[in-house]
Assembly symmetry: C2
């Protein structure tokens, strides 16, 4: 943690005029139109009117899977999710760079984009055991001051069809992962109740939260979302259960949607979106009206699953806004909320924001307005984490290896 | 036109090794692995292994509508297309920058992205008359060596409901526009046959091509596409009629699609897509199988209709690939074809390509492969038009005012 003093001058707050942000010992001391008097030991950075934004939050990625740092690898899987799982298994052990190296590469890249917090799913399966978890935990330790990382122990192969996995997931929680993951209980495990009961029982035993990949379409996906909500409610897990993707919510009829959304709100089950291109998009406004909380993440970032993605949560907000057809500034700006305040609130990051007393985690965006920053993303002029400058103009500072 | 000699060294051809491109008097003389012997008067540019790509083609934009160069203007229209037309009319006359200045700004920006050819729709209505056309024609003249611009005379207000417009469209063709435009004959004119008969009659009288905006949904949009094909066929206009958008093609059932696509192929009617976010995406592979030709364009670029867009056809290819869910290199690369070879072929740009004898219109993309260039677009290292360097590393050369 930095004990430096820092003054960021000439930033523009959202809906405010020009402000100066004074930081000490990693905490925002003041945000004010007046320039504070400072002593010689204060580093002063003038951002020339760029927009102040709290540190970006990537609510869903896979640090262990990225290929960043390797030469371009053409996508080689067949068309189904099962093909991609199989392909992933055959390629990953052959890579010349370790999980630790590749995950570190992605963390560094995310820092240059202004990301200060993330939730990474990490494969925990009978094949890799806890190896990938250990590697990602090392990365978390290494970047402790630069990136807050939540870890989801992710049973990529399912749990019913892969006996022993539940024990591994519980071990992962014991070692420091915070969430039990899951995936498509019908398509992957062919047993919705079997997978979900096992996951929730493990969560109950360990005190972990839950974050389940749910790509399943239409009525099938909706059925499993309802099963998840019923279990979250029964165990009083409000606020600690997430459905990642939840494509089904964009594909069911209005009456079914209303029922499911009401149940999600009641059970305190949130949903994460990456703004899918070819799967149904979440109806964001309808979810908000129903009281369902939504946050955003990258999902795959240049890995064996998917060649797209670069960890930029401002571009992610753009995709989401584009995908739902937003045109108005307030609508477009609401998509960045999914990667800032809403995400912090749902994911439980504390002391988050731009008020005095908050952790000094913020980024400055070169643009006239937040909407412009989203529709035309430019390199971030400044990225600050725990009061320390980590990147300038899209380039990492020295010493972040 | 440039009479310079230019040697672009160390480019990589698609699927080839490193090549050197020799240009003289605006024409590609040779593309070869060997370095040609050159005299002192040859400008040599080393692109360090970047990928060679023919000049990008933007098949659909609105030069007269862009707000580029103005301070950010929040989107202020109501939710319907009619609201946006009304809003556009109230704002455009109040802008402090002329059509000529704004259109020039967009042309310059497009050049930095590697665009060398474009088709601009220009409003021709009873309100603006031919004023916007004249302004865009001036811009075309001014940038004659830097950008090839086709012009569509666009009846934004319809023709049946706006008497006198057809005469204006014909005058626009007489003055140098190449295409008669149109828009949603049912929704805007409430008279599909009335609008389409008028447009095709004007095209027949003037010898112009046709390019019709068709946003109409589902079966209604499909009905109008069929009407367009019937008229294109009757008049023998194969290859000279385009449906822009054609969202309906992504929303009708398979049997109806197959019938319409077969008719489009038979009539030689092409379709333009910008990769819409919240409207149905064209089924690109099914269109290709049916023999329907597709090309890509930006559509609105930061205007009163839509705040997104920057004229970058590589990013556009990315949106399209993302939207159709492509993962494989060959699929992803096919989206850039919609803004290069396919577009040139459909739009009738001659001497296009990277063969000796072609116009020296090309761009170099910093990436290992074309697929990587599309999923992770970077500033273009070099943009060449008519043998002249117009931009380097995303920055316009001096003197392109």
């Amino acid at each position: 943690m930095s004990h430096q003093k820092l003054l960021v001058k000439n930033a523009r707050g959202h809906g405010q005029g020009v402000v100066n942000v004074l930081v000490r010992e990693g905490v925002i001391m003041s945000v004010s139109a007046d320039e504070p008097t400072t002593s010689d030991d204060v580093e002063v950075v003038d951002v020339g009117g760029d927009l102040l934004c709290p540190g970006l939050i990537d609510g869903h990625l896979h640090l262990d899977k990225t290929l960043i740092g390797l030469p371009w690898m053409p996508h080689s899987a067949g068309p189904t999710r099962q093909d991609r799982i199989k392909n992933d298994k055959s390629i990953m052990p052959t890579l010349p760079l370790s999980v630790e190296v590749r995950a570190s590469n992605l963390v560094r890249q995310a820092i240059t984009k202004g990301t200060t917090h993330m939730r990474s799913h990490v494969d925990v399966t009978n094949e890799v055991g806890l190896d990938s978890l250990h590697a990602v935990m090392k990365v978390r330790e290494k970047f402790a001051d630069a990136m807050e990382i939540q870890i989801v122990a992710f049973p990529q192969d399912g749990v019913v069809s892969s006996p022993g996995t539940i024990d591994l997931l519980e071990s992962a929680i014991g070692e420091g992962a915070e969430f039990i993951g899951g995936i498509d209980p019908a398509v992957i495990d062919r047993d919705p109740v079997g997978q979900l009961d096992a996951l929730f029982a493990a969560a109950e035993r360990t005190g972990a939260g839950i974050d389940i990949h749910l790509h399943e379409p239409g009525e099938l996906g909706n059925f499993n979302i309802v099963l998840i909500c019923e279990r979250a409610k029964a165990l009083g897990m409000a606020g600690r259960v997430t459905v990642s993707h939840g494509f089904a919510l964009g594909a069911i009829n209005d009456a079914t949607f209303d029922q499911t959304a009401a149940l999600m709100a009641e059970a305190g089950v949130s949903v994460m979106t990456f703004g899918p291109g070819s799967s149904p998009m979440l109806p964001l406004k309808k979810l908000a009206v129903a009281g369902v909380r939504v946050f955003a993440g990258s999902d795959a970032i240049r890995d064996t699953w998917w060649p797209f993605g670069n960890g930029d949560m401002v571009e992610r907000a753009q995709f989401i806004a584009y995908r739902v057809g937003y045109r108005r500034d307030d609508d477009i700006e609401s998509t960045l909320d999914l990667a800032t305040y809403a995400a912090a609130d749902i994911m439980g990051f504390e002391n988050y924001g731009l008020e005095p007393g908050c952790r000094a985690d913020f980024v400055t965006l070169p643009a006239e307005t937040l909407a412009e920053a989203i529709v035309d993303p430019k390199p971030r002029s400044l990225v600050i984490k725990n009061g320390r400058v980590l990147a300038r103009n899209g380039v990492l500072e020295d010493g972040l290896s």
